[in-house]
């Protein structure tokens, strides 16, 4: 056995036991009725038929797609934007970069509780600041659309990895290209849109692909802690819906079926993005 394979063995074992086996089990469970207190019973495609009649599932799917549409662009723009602001080495930039990365290492539950306080309509700093500036403050966690935006905005602060990747990619662009553009008479906007972003495009495409995968799963904690799936089911995403079906109603078979649709949805969107990126010669 080669050295590299030996080194990878512990990881591969963990991957098999903790990812592959549960995924295969979930796939099998998707075709069963499994109330947790009794053994799973094969029920064919009943769970899939039920999906099509389940208004709750349709709402959760709709909410997830809205969240995807809001959070992925927001996260990618934030990661790339902050990287472009902070790629130069100068005084204080190191601290600013650390500050940009910091929210990513805060545990999700603590991060959710923090936002619950930040957005509190009675004493939260964000509504307070908006009011102090004479600006209208939406009913962040009470109005359905504001709640969806709030969860998406929260996600835009945990962009550490995307920020670091964008920063590294920007720093790899040779300065001579910018000097050539300066001599060519290119202004800041022309340089950004015709030079910087196209050169960063492969990395941006990869970030977008990765964020799509994340967006369908990583909204679970904030939606549970901050909005509890509400108001009026506005933040009941597929992840929350799976959780409720599995652990509130003990429909583990049906929850597995929904998980399977999440997997297919994610794979479909990622594939479509990949094809687009290939067509645009980004990847």
């Amino acid at each position: 056995m080669r050295g590299a394979t030996k080194l990878a063995l512990p990881y591969l074992a963990g991957l098999f036991l903790l990812v592959a086996v549960p995924a295969l089990l979930a796939f099998a469970l998707a075709f069963t009725e499994f109330p947790a207190v009794a053994a799973p019973r094969f029920n064919g495609v009943d769970n899939f038929i039920r999906l099509f009649r389940d208004a709750g599932y349709a709402t959760a799917l709709w909410n997830s797609l809205i969240y995807l549409a809001l959070s992925v662009p927001l996260r990618v723009v934030a990661a790339v934007g902050i990287a472009l602001l902070m790629y130069r080495r100068s005084r204080g930039v190191g601290a600013a970069r650390a500050a940009a990365y910091l929210p990513t290492v805060v545990p999700d539950v603590a991060f959710g509780l923090l936002w619950l306080w930040l957005l509190n309509p009675l004493y939260g700093p964000i509504p307070g600041a908006l009011q102090a500036l004479g600006l209208p403050s939406p009913d962040w966690l009470i109005d359905p659309w504001s709640a969806r935006f709030a969860v998406a905005i929260m996600s835009a602060f945990q962009i550490g990895e995307g920020f670091v990747i964008a920063l590294a990619v920007r720093r790899l662009i040779p300065s001579s290209l910018y000097e050539a553009a300066l001599l060519d008479g290119a202004g800041p906007w022309f340089t950004l849109t015709r030079l910087t972003l196209p050169l960063m495009a492969p990395a941006i495409a990869l970030l977008a692909l990765r964020d799509v995968v994340l967006a369908l799963q990583a909204n679970f904690v904030p939606a549970l802690i901050v909005t509890d799936g509400g108001p009026r089911l506005a933040t009941t995403f597929l992840s929350i819906y799976v959780y409720r079906q599995a652990f509130a109603y003990f429909r583990l078979g049906y929850a597995s079926t929904i998980s399977l649709t999440m997997f297919v949805l994610t794979a479909g969107i990622v594939y479509a993005q990949y094809r687009l990126a290939r067509r645009w010669r980004l990847l």
Binding site: S176, A181, L182, D184, G185, R194
Partner: protein
């Protein structure tokens, strides 16, 4: 004057890069700046381009003071050593980039690009990206990108440095022909004195942030202002040694004789030395001689091969000797 540089000084922290440089180039002139690494030639070019801010002095392009102007407003185009082609754009888009940035209308861009593409023989490459081009093609695209804007001044920063020897020789002739055809003033930086001599209408020799001499290539060779210029221009470098070696003449001064002026054999004032090394270079041979503690190089015809370790005499004409104040000092009359 197409270019006028007056008393330009530049420091990078404690490091002095340029000290009061004065330089000018007439319309249509190809002025070469040559000097060893770290002499400040690229810094000077970047200061003229506006890529570096100068500490003091004045830069004028086509009669207009551009000292504080942005690089894009100086009416100069630059070819970088690494070409700096935009890797995501096709050859055509690379050439058109500057025109698009300046919001030139599409039909004019199309026409200008087509002309330049034809001028540089890039017809078969226009839809390719830089990664799909050879070194020589990239170099021509970089030239095309500079030419298409029709600037008042071309700045070339060692544009041949990344080409192999054969292509370099070919391309320097191409650049010179192209510059004469277009008639635009060109400032050309190189560390290669052969490139400088063969290309330049005039050549500025730089050392440690100052210009030692500006003159025609032949005048630099025949009438160097000091021992540094004398050694830098010509290959192998001029032999510069204490004058005492030549039968005690001009005590305290330094003598200089070009290797190609030394001949094996006896004659008036000939010097005896021991052969240390013999380097055949084709039609000629470089003979390294040791004369007491002084080392001389003689460039002699290829059919002469004195054995290593033997003692030989070298001779020269009285007019072949230059006299200098010191090892790097001024030329004495």
């Amino acid at each position: 004057m197409s270019l006028s540089v007056e008393s330009v000084a530049k420091r990078f922290g404690e490091v002095v890069a340029l000290t009061g440089v004065d330089l000018s180039a007439a319309d249509g002139e190809l002025l070469v700046i040559v000097g060893p690494s770290g002499s400040g030639k690229t810094t000077l070019l970047r200061c003229i381009a506006g890529l570096e801010e100068i500490d003091s002095g004045r830069v004028s392009v086509a009669g207009r003071d551009v000292t504080g102007a942005d690089p894009g407003d100086r009416d100069v185009a630059m070819v970088f050593q690494e070409y700096a082609l935009y890797p995501h754009l096709t050859v055509r888009a690379n050439i058109a980039f500057g025109l698009k940035a300046r919001k030139v209308d599409e039909s004019s861009i199309e026409r200008s690009c087509a002309e330049v593409v034809e001028l540089l023989g890039l017809q078969n490459t226009t839809d390719r990206r830089p990664a799909e081009l050879s070194g020589g093609e990239r170099q021509r695209v970089a030239l095309a990108r500079a030419i298409v804007r029709e600037p008042a001044l071309f700045l070339m920063d060692e544009p041949l440095a990344n080409l192999d020897a054969e292509l370099r020789t070919h391309t320097r002739g191409e650049i010179k022909r192209l510059q004469k055809r277009i008639g635009t003033t060109m400032l050309y930086v190189t560390h290669d004195q052969i490139e400088a001599m063969t290309m330049g209408d005039s050549v500025a020799v730089m050392r440690a942030g100052t210009i030692e001499q500006i003159d025609s290539p032949l005048n630099l060779y025949n009438h160097p202002a000091n021992a540094f210029v004398a050694r830098f221009i010509g290959h192998p470098p001029m032999n510069v040694f204490p004058a005492e070696v030549l039968s005690g003449e001009k005590r305290g001064a330094y003598a200089g004789i070009r290797p190609e002026r030394l001949r094996l054999g006896d004659g008036p004032g000939s010097i005896a030395g021991e052969v240390e090394l013999v380097e055949p270079i084709g039609g000629e041979v470089l003979v390294h001689l040791s004369v007491d503690s002084t080392r001389l190089i003689a460039r002699i015809p290829g059919d002469e091969h004195p054995p290593i370790g033997t003692s030989v005499n070298v001779t020269f004409g009285a007019d072949d000797v230059f006299w200098f104040e010191g090892p790097d000092g001024k030329t004495l009359a």
